[in-house]
Amino acid sequence: MPETRGGRPIAASQRPTGGDKAIATGKKQYFRRKKVCRFCVEKIDDINYKDVKLLTNFISERGKITPRRISGVCTPHQKRLAEAIKQARNIALLPFASAV
């Protein structure tokens, strides 16, 4: 039972027992795909609160910050991203909550 992957606990959504794809195909399919951190791959160093276009990729329709397990961002980048989104919200570049 792969409780850990690379020494880290896996999120519930990524464990092999879950996932409709595994059940649908009937095979014992482990993890759909390996999610990589977009910032690590593209080597983006500066996650700025001013750059609304980049930040809108990581908020939901309601304006909520997408969790790390969905977006696939690594922890340090997620932290900086969240901080940038909160700063952008404070200066009215992003909404706190938008109607859906």
């Binding site: 593209e42 919200r89 009215a92 992003l94 938008s98």
Partner: protein, 146 residues
């Protein structure tokens, strides 16, 4: 001397003649205390994500400067007192810039040290507006030279 970034929103109905003296005054506050203004730019009128002081739009003005900590307090006080300014945000940027510079130097050193290795052109670094033009190890240029 710390570097700061000040982004503030001015009422949309304020004219150039009203806004420019405000910016000059703020620049004066910074330079009086021995700071330096790096950049002052106006973004123009933008739609706000939510209503601020009953306005749906606002003029954004960005100010980048280096100053002592005490100067920032005075600057914010001026912004708070001013009737034209509806919202402001001060961010300290020196640590962040230091970190980015460090990463950039690390990447350059790594790129210079290793011989350019053949890399599949499948993953190419897209050009993003925020990323400065730094050489990336294993960039498509080296793949073309193969």
């Amino acid at each position: 001397m710390r570097t700061y970034e000040e982004l503030f929103i001015v009422r949309p109905d304020a004219t150039e003649e009203e806004v420019d003296p405000v910016i000059e005054q703020l620049k004066g506050v910074i330079t009086n205390d021995g700071g330096t203004v790096d950049k002052a730019e106006k973004w123009g009128t933008r739609k706000l994500a939510y209503r601020v002081a009953k306005f749906a739009e606002g003029q954004y003005i960005l100010l980048q400067f280096a100053a002592q900590p005490g100067t920032v307090r005075e600057l914010e006080r001026r912004l708070r007192v001013n009737d034209l300014v509806v919202k402001y945000l001060t961010v300290r940027t020196d640590e962040k810039l230091k970190r980015i510079e460090k990463r950039r130097k690390q990447r350059e050193k790594r790129a210079a040290r290793k011989p350019p290795k053949p890399e599949t052109p499948a993953i190419s670094t897209p050009v993003l507006p925020t990323e400065p033009a730094t050489p990336v190890p294993g960039s498509p240029v080296e793949a073309e030279q193969k």
